[in-house]
């Protein structure tokens, strides 16, 4: 049997115009829409994202150069009112400020700080998820698509890193970063990084520590998916019409493996939110006075006999957010119905 080689231009068929396709992706979303609790969670998360972006005017200030003012939040997160420390909910001050959910031990509005905390939690969650998704998927794709020997070496390296207690390393890295930024200044790259971190209230190093160390599971999933897809007929067809490796990996394999990978990553988001709260709680997360739910709980839990609201408002925000991500993640997993089910 002889195979005729056709030039690629002939092989390209105008499929997209002819049929409006039902991709596995759109099927999954149709499935997801039937899951009411996942839909509600999704809407809640969209609201949270909205709050995180528009809690103050930082976005507009970035483009116009104007001063940043609180927008959704009534007051700035670091605005201190000493005569009103530990004020109960529904307090009105002499100068006309209104604390709907009370004030904390420095007289800072609990509602405003909780709203600002949304920004930290979501930023850490999304940046860490994106970093680990990108590193993991690229690593897994390369490993899965490469020759067995390269694949072996790359996966042994992942196994090796798996042996390390990642959480301890995140803590150690944060200890180091904190020590660096306490010292301040510095020159070269380190100094620039510390500058960025201080400007962001300590969130930047959290991105690095969490994102850089959490891609191992993602790499394994991506590799597994790549291995199962690369023997499929459509890859063979692509090879037959003369597509190069780069095109096969990015145009054919990547779109197919991306769905399960995103689902897996969504399931990890609660863990990232917890990690940020945990690190901030033990003093290795954001720098005060930045408002994060973890640091708010850690600053106020000792006074909760007198002022329970300043602990339980951020605590409720933390729980509701993780619940929403968990329900959405479970819904996505059921909708995609991949091999991730059962984890």
């Amino acid at each position: 049997m002889t195979v005729e080689t056709t030039p690629p231009s002939v092989a390209r068929l105008p499929v997209e115009e002819a049929v409006s396709g039902r991709s596995p992706m759109s099927d999954a979303f149709r499935q997801l829409r039937k899951n009411r609790i996942a839909v509600v969670s999704g809407i809640f998360i969209i609201v949270l994202i909205f709050i995180a972006i528009f809690v103050d005017t930082a976005l507009f200030a970035f483009f116009t150069g104007a001063e940043t003012r609180p927008l959704i939040a009534p007051y700035h997160f670091a605005e201190v009112n000493f005569r009103y420390n530990n004020a109960p909910p529904l307090t009105t001050t002499d100068d006309g400020k209104f604390f709907l959910l009370g004030a904390d031990y420095l007289g800072r509005d609990v509602l405003s700080r909780t709203l600002y905390g949304t920004r930290v939690s979501l930023a850490v969650a999304f940046v860490a998820a994106t970093v680990s998704l990108i590193i993991g998927v690229v690593y897994g794709l390369i490993s899965g698509y490469s020759s067995t020997r390269v694949d072996n070496i790359m996966m042994r390296f992942v196994d090796f890193l798996y042996g390390f207690p990642i959480i301890i390393f995140i803590i150690l890295m944060q200890v180091y970063f904190k020590a660096l930024s306490r010292r301040g200044g510095g020159e070269g790259i380190a100094g620039a990084l510390i500058g960025i971190d201080n400007a962001m209230g300590g969130v930047f190093f959290l991105f690095i520590a969490i994102g850089l160390l959490n891609w191992l599971g993602m790499a394994r999933i991506a590799r597994g998916q790549t291995l199962s897809y690369k023997e499929k007929e459509f890859v063979e067809a692509a090879q037959a019409v003369g597509a190069n490796d780069q095109r096969i990996v990015f145009r054919h394999l990547l779109p197919n493996i991306l769905g399960p990978c995103i689902v897996y990553e969504t399931l990890q988001i609660p863990a990232y939110i917890f990690l940020e709260a945990f690190l901030s709680f033990i003093g290795l997360g954001v720098n005060p006075p930045t408002a994060s739910w973890g640091i708010m709980i850690s600053e106020t839990y000792q006074g909760m006999r007198v002022v329970p609201h300043s602990v339980f408002v951020p605590a409720a925000a933390l729980v509701l957010t993780t619940l929403a991500f968990n329900f959405l993640g479970d819904g996505l997993r059921d909708a995609f119905d991949t091999r991730l089910r059962g984890e």
Binding site: G163, F164, I166, L323, G342
Partner: protein, 324 residues
């Protein structure tokens, strides 16, 4: 099997070396030497040089690392910068048993609640009982211990006064063999809330995993065969299904140990228990780096060993893994 175990143990040595190397490098890279007393310039440079010579800080780095490894192998973690009278070993000896007790109690609670409820939910698949227990489990994994701890204290210690607010019910002088606590009412009343605070999320995780795993197994052909030949449902579940269904639960124990470790950090801090986690956080705030590094090393070794134990148990229970 022996070959598998040997291979795993050989794998374990470079990891230990890597951990020691990372902690050493970080301790070296930490800004500020032990002898530059900020604001207190009364020590003349010649004395600092002598001090550095005494502690071998004038040696080349590789030689220092060698000495550090040698100290580690002898189990010597050095002095504490903050508590001048204590070594890191003293601190760990006093605080580790407390953390161990808290961790073991929470894991036991997690297994005792998680596995039975997971099996129950799976056997009642798609019923009201299944939905409600799955919902409770999602709730359980969504409440972090930094929230659950204060909530439990507020409800059961401050409002209802059923349990003491803080502290551990015994200290290291009362432990049998150095780690077994006295089984007194005082111990249990102090242990109850921290154990629940730490164990709830773990039990929810185990419950979800057990449920999924049992669901998968009871759809297998051999379970259908067992039912078809007329065995009682109880026999099918206990003798046939559970044996295979509980194997994946073993694998989650590795990550769970890590969760217990980080959990003890938080729970000990909230409940004022002077375990290793609380010492770690205090040391971070006091910049007592030898204690930070020492506790890190102990935790790392512990986690690595527990992962090793989990892997070996898994390979022993599931022969397929050995031939990977």
């Amino acid at each position: 099997m022996t070959r598998y175990i040997i291979r795993r143990i050989l794998w374990f040595l470079p990891v230990l070396f890597g951990i020691a190397l990372v902690t050493f490098m970080l301790a070296r890279a930490m800004p500020g030497g032990p002898f530059d007393f900020a604001g207190d310039r009364t020590i003349p440079p010649s004395v600092v040089i002598n001090l550095e010579r005494k502690y071998h800080l004038d040696w080349p780095v590789y030689k220092q690392f060698g000495a550090y490894l040698w100290d580690l192998m002898r189990g010597d973690l050095g002095p504490s910068f903050y508590y001048r009278a204590l070594t890191v070993n003293d601190i760990i000896k006093q605080s580790f048993p407390v953390s161990l007790q808290l961790g073991v109690l929470s894991l036991m609670l997690a297994l005792l609640i998680g596995i039975p409820f997971g099996i129950y939910a799976a056997l009642r698949h798609n019923t009201y009982a299944d939905y409600s227990s799955t919902f409770v489990a999602v709730l359980g994994v969504s409440i972090p211990n930094i929230v659950l701890g204060p909530l439990l204290i507020y409800l059961f210690a401050l409002k209802l006064s059923w349990f003491p607010v803080a502290r551990w019910g015994a200290d290291y002088t009362q432990f049998t063999l150095g780690f077994i606590p006295p089984m007194t009412a005082k111990f249990w009343s102090h242990a109850a809330l921290p154990t629940i605070a730490l164990g709830t999320a773990l039990s929810a995780t185990i419950m979800r995993l057990t449920r999924a795993s049992v669901l998968e197994v009871i759809r297998e052909d051999y379970i259908r065969t067992a039912r078809a030949k007329g065995l009682r449902e109880q026999t099918v579940v206990v003798v046939h299904a559970l044996k295979n269904a509980l194997i994946p639960v073993i694998t989650i124990l590795g990550p769970l140990f890590a969760a217990v470790v980080t959990g003890t950090f938080v729970v000990e801090q909230i409940f004022g228990i002077s375990g290793m986690g609380q010492h770690f956080i205090d040391s971070v705030n006091n910049r007592d780096y030898p204690v930070v590094m020492g506790v890190t090393l102990v935790y790392s070794v512990l986690l690595v060993i527990s992962n090793l134990a989990v892997d070996i148990t898994y390979a022993w229970l599931d022969p397929r893994v050995r031939y990977d």
